[in-house]
Amino acid sequence: MSASAPEATASPGKGFRLDLKTAGPLLALILLVILGYSLNPLFLAEGNVSNLLTRSAFIGIIAVGATFVITAGGIDLSVGSMAAFIAGVMIIVMNWAVDAMGVSVWTVVLGIGCSLILGIGAGFINGFLTTKAKIEAFIVTLGTMGIYRSLVTYFANGGTLSLDSDARNIYRPIYYDSILGVPIPVWVFILVAIVGWVLMNRTAFGRYCMAIGSNEHVAQYSAIKVDRVKTWTYIIQGLCVSLATIIYVPRLGSASAATGVLWELEAIAAVIIGGTMLKGGFGRVGGTVIGALILTAIGNILNLTEIISNYLNGAVQGVIIVAAVYLQRGSLGRRKKAAE
């Protein structure tokens, strides 16, 4: 009854809960892998696994950023358009640099720098409008979503912006090469995930995000600079979008109005499948990573089999997403939920 217990139980208790929490999405992922393998053993072939991981990097990196925004009680619908916009501007700038100074590694460095600045700037704008102008995050980011998408269409004159082919040859390896057998995008994803996890779980900032998402008043009364922290979550989101775009551009070497459509929904879905709550107050970067893998794996599995009509892909996807979340909330999470 007294508090003598904490010392003894706190650490293991905490460890155990962490296991249970990650277990939900992880279990869903494992079942999905088993399903994939049983439908087609090539699912676990090295090439496919590497493809799958590389692919999940885009959504995964963006979703890590979204974890912060959502944990702090916000939402960002603009990420897909933002990615298209950043990709478009990167390409324009790099093409201009090629014209002006010829092709070199610096062209790509310039493009990357440009992307980072844009990502941070776009994140800041979202953050500023939500915190200072006090407009709902949903509306702000719905607005910027439309704006970025329009701008990229405008820059591309309704068509596609393509990276100069020489510049592309220099840039290509960033998507297509591997280090120690692991594709570079996967390295970036791992890095972002680790940094994100540390930031969320081991720094004051992460704690502040959870506090704000959980009860903004308490955060304010606890000397947390609520507006500043919230703005930072959007900046982190922008930075993540920028990183995802940096590895996206060399993949296809182009950007158009169709780039990044619906990424926002996928990113938010990854976050929520991973166990973060849409209402905020509770962030799980590890879960988000698994969520992104689950989403990518579903698409991959659907390509592995011909059992169902292509028209029904979306239905299968929907069923699997709901089932995956049910699996973790419904069974394992039931008691936790009920108790809350």
Binding site: M1, S2, A3, A5, P6, E7, T9, A10, G13, K14, R17, V198, R202, T203, A204, R207, Y208, M210, A211, S214, N215, H217, V218, A219, Q220, Y221, S222, A223, I224, K225, G281, F282, E340
Partner: protein
Amino acid sequence: MVDAASASGSPILSASRISKSFGEIPVLFSIDFDVKPGEVHAIIGENGAGKSTLIKILSGFEQPTSGTIHYDGRQVTLPPNGEAEAMGIVLIHQELNLAEHLTVADSIFLGREITGWGGFLDLKQMREKSRAILDTLHVRIDPDARINTLSVADKQMVEIAKAISRDARVLIMDEPTAVLSVGETETLFEQIRRLQARGVAIVFISHKLDEIMQLAQRVTVLRDGQLIATVGTEALTPDSIAQMMVGRELSNLYPPKHEPDVDAPVVLSVRGLRAPGVKDVSFDLRRGEILGFAGLIGSGRTAVAEAIVGLTRRTAGEIEVHGKPVNFTDVGKSVAAGLAYMTKDRKGRGLLLNVGLQPNLTLLTLKKHIKGAFVDGRSEEQALEKAVRRFDIRARDASVPAGKLSGGNQQKLLLGKTMESEPDIIIMDEPTRGIDVGTKQQIYHIIAALAAEGKSIIVISSELQEVIGLSHRVVVMREGRLAGRLEGAEITEAEIMRYAAGIKQDGDNERISA
């Protein structure tokens, strides 16, 4: 007092051999309890003794692990989620239980709206009835006001209004007076006596022993989930109750006041402060001084504190800390300057209810626990250990979400959180809200010790005894202004009440001091 005869019938609600465990953890052991029509039956006990759990079982919000409940002589299983209200068992929860976005009238009638023609809401009637009930409680709350615009005390009054508006046969109240001042408490008691006279059975929980002596016919004492005794009040004194509760003698609730040093430097000086809810407030706080803030609900004490620490914008006036003018724009700045404010709204402003003890304790002072760039879990754990010892926080383990602690233990956690910042100047808003006498004594001694160390403390409290017992000086607020300042022997209940009620004003007093 109500005549004993009315309370001598057979019990309307009784529980026998009630035990309750949350998971593996037992919190109640085979409790017998009953209440008769027209009786006030008080439950007392230390924080975490199981009082709230017991009455939640008595009203169906929790199901007992074992044991039986009889209502009207028949054994029953009470329906959950307040559905027992339909049977006449009404509970006022310890923690405010109102939806922030609804209006006062909506809240009072939530779940049993008055409908008129065609099943539509009869808004007019609900508004009028709300106003009538609030009138009987002598509170000035607009039935159309939204809950989130009310102060904590007003919210509590709404809760009370809500409860007495129902046709209760058993009315159970879990620390209804914790945030109320003397005046409000008195009106509440009037209402309780009125209901009692009508034969309503009343269960009443409070940590204020004099209230229990005043109101109750019988007292049940719980300790660590065990039933210690059920006795008639006439056989008791506050001291003997306290002793049963805590299990030890409780002499000297208030520590001896050390002589205030009149030459001590002024550490906080407020001049002509105007802010939302504050109209022209000036006062000084000296080093080593305990300054009491008294006043009725909504008199602006909280508003003064919040304006000082930068939670609301002040519109006029100067504030000096250690002789230097300051303008705190957020709490961080005031904490950095050594000035901390402890909110009275522990649930809405004080604690994150969904996380454990440790993150709550260190939220205000997380910077102290940063090693390199990272939060140092070890150092946080040590801080928690220390706070747990110092404030006697009782929790199953450190990972229990703060929202699941007993009310008093939440308050202690909040106290620990504020004290973590090691402030020189502390503004404590209702510091012992919901705290048992034993711990109260500890806290009073902590406050006195802090003052002796040279810290300066403002105690905002609606409990006059507390203000009187602790403070070197007392200021009384009324309608956003300082109505009076009292010192030494002037600090009496009667005098404070005179200022608070506006019978006497600052100008009437010849010795106006800064």
